[in-house]
């Protein structure tokens, strides 16, 4: 694939990271702008929590910042950053399990003092659409992580099998078979939604 370019001749990701390696901080800001939402979507669909997803994306950029010198042009920048984000998302999942093992309950807050902030959805939200999204999301989350990451990268993010293989460091054949199995599973679980889908 060719680097993304617009009429304005935007620099490629690889040019940006190289500029950043030479100390250009504006180039880093541009990278953040370019990737923050797409990484958030990946992490959000993988983890199912906006908060955790946003943390993962923050951590991803912090790693890019810290380890900028480690990037080499042999790999595409997008592959590199997705690998970092994917690893952090999986670490988050493991931490979530570990966190359940211990708890601190004696920090003593005065519950009554808190205002209840309005976290409800916009009333104009389409209820059916939201429900459908929730059903799909919960089925994605039920997939084992290795199927989940593949199906999100493929069907939500639209990456090619080759890119996915590079990001996850697995053979293309494995990507293919995981995509197949994840889809078969989702097809079964989302049968009712698929019947109404044109």
């Amino acid at each position: 694939m060719t680097p993304k370019r617009t009429k304005e001749l935007e620099p490629s990701d690889e040019e940006l990271i190289e500029r950043f390696q030479k100390g250009d901080r504006e180039a880093f800001e541009k990278i953040v702008e370019r990737y923050k939402d797409q990484l958030l979507n990946f992490a959000y669909r993988f983890l199912g929590s906006r908060q955790e997803a946003e943390d993962v994306v923050q951590d991803t950029f912090l790693r890019v910042y810290r380890n900028r010198k480690a990037y080499r042009r042999v790999a595409r920048f997008s592959t590199w950053i997705y690998t970092i984000a994917g690893n952090l998302a999986k670490t988050e999942l493991r931490k979530r399990k570990r966190r359940k093992l211990f708890s601190i309950s004696d920090l003593g807050f005065e519950e009554k003092d808190y205002e209840i902030s309005d976290l409800s959805h916009n009333p104009e939200d389409d209820v059916e659409g939201t429900l459908k999204e929730e059903i799909i999301q919960s089925e994605i989350e039920k997939l084992p992580p290795k199927f989940r990451e593949v199906i999100i990268l493929r069907d939500v993010q639209g990456l090619s099998y080759e890119e996915i293989a590079l990001i996850l460091k697995i053979p293309i054949g494995t990507v293919k078979s995981r995509v197949n199995r994840a889809r078969l599973r989702l097809q079964k679980r989302l049968k009712h939604l698929l019947e109404t889908e044109k």
Binding site: V32, N41, E52, Q137, Y161
Partner: protein, 200 residues
């Protein structure tokens, strides 16, 4: 084995445009005659459309400011501003927690004296979700608790008044004046200004 199974295994890759030209030709020839395989193909396409229809989310408005502040914090930590923080790593914050932690850090940078009276407010450098598990409380309750902390840090602490943060590698304990709920907006403004001015 059902002769169609072999074809059906090719369908997902076919729908993704990831088959070889040869596989594509063989499959297309079969699809013309086989309604069952066409139905499989249609299901795969519908599933893909369904997944693609998931609404996209975007980062919160504070995302950039928080990232800049974290980077600045990391750079600062290397300079031993807050020696009890590990200098080699900034713990991963929840967004609300980071806001609270940054506020508290801003407070320490500006003062360092202990308040005469005050509520003890505890926030931590854990992610919000981690705090939620530890506190056995939902995330939004944790957010409210963090806001509670913010509410209790008076604006003037940023200038002259007192606050103390004893930080451990695990968390940050803040002792803050409890009388200044009304100063919240001013506090936010001052903190926002500091974050804006922060450079890498």
């Amino acid at each position: 084995m059902n002769p169609c199974e072999r074809y059906q295994q090719l369908i997902p890759a076919y729908v993704d445009g990831e088959t070889t030209a040869e596989e594509k030709a063989i499959l297309e020839a079969h699809l013309k005659h086989c309604a069952e395989c066409r139905a499989v193909e249609s299901r795969v396409r519908r599933l893909r459309r369904l997944l693609q229809s998931l609404p996209a989310v975007s980062t919160s408005p504070e995302f950039g400011a928080i990232l800049r502040a974290r980077i600045r914090l990391e750079n600062r930590n290397a300079g031993h501003i807050i020696p009890s923080f590990p200098t080699w790593r900034v713990p991963a914050f929840g967004l609300a927690a980071v806001a609270a932690a940054l506020l508290l850090i801003a407070v320490i940078w500006n003062s360092g004296r202990i308040p005469q009276r005050g509520a003890v407010a505890v926030t931590s450098v854990y992610k919000t979700a981690e705090m939620a598990t530890m506190l056995k409380a939902p995330v939004d309750t944790v957010m409210r608790r963090v806001h509670y902390v913010l509410d209790r840090v008076p604006a003037q602490t940023l200038g002259t008044a007192p606050a103390v943060v004893a930080s451990r590698s695990l968390g940050t304990r803040a002792v803050a004046d409890s009388s200044a709920r009304s100063a919240r907006q001013e506090t936010y403004r001052l903190v926002a200004e500091r974050i804006r001015r922060a450079s890498f």
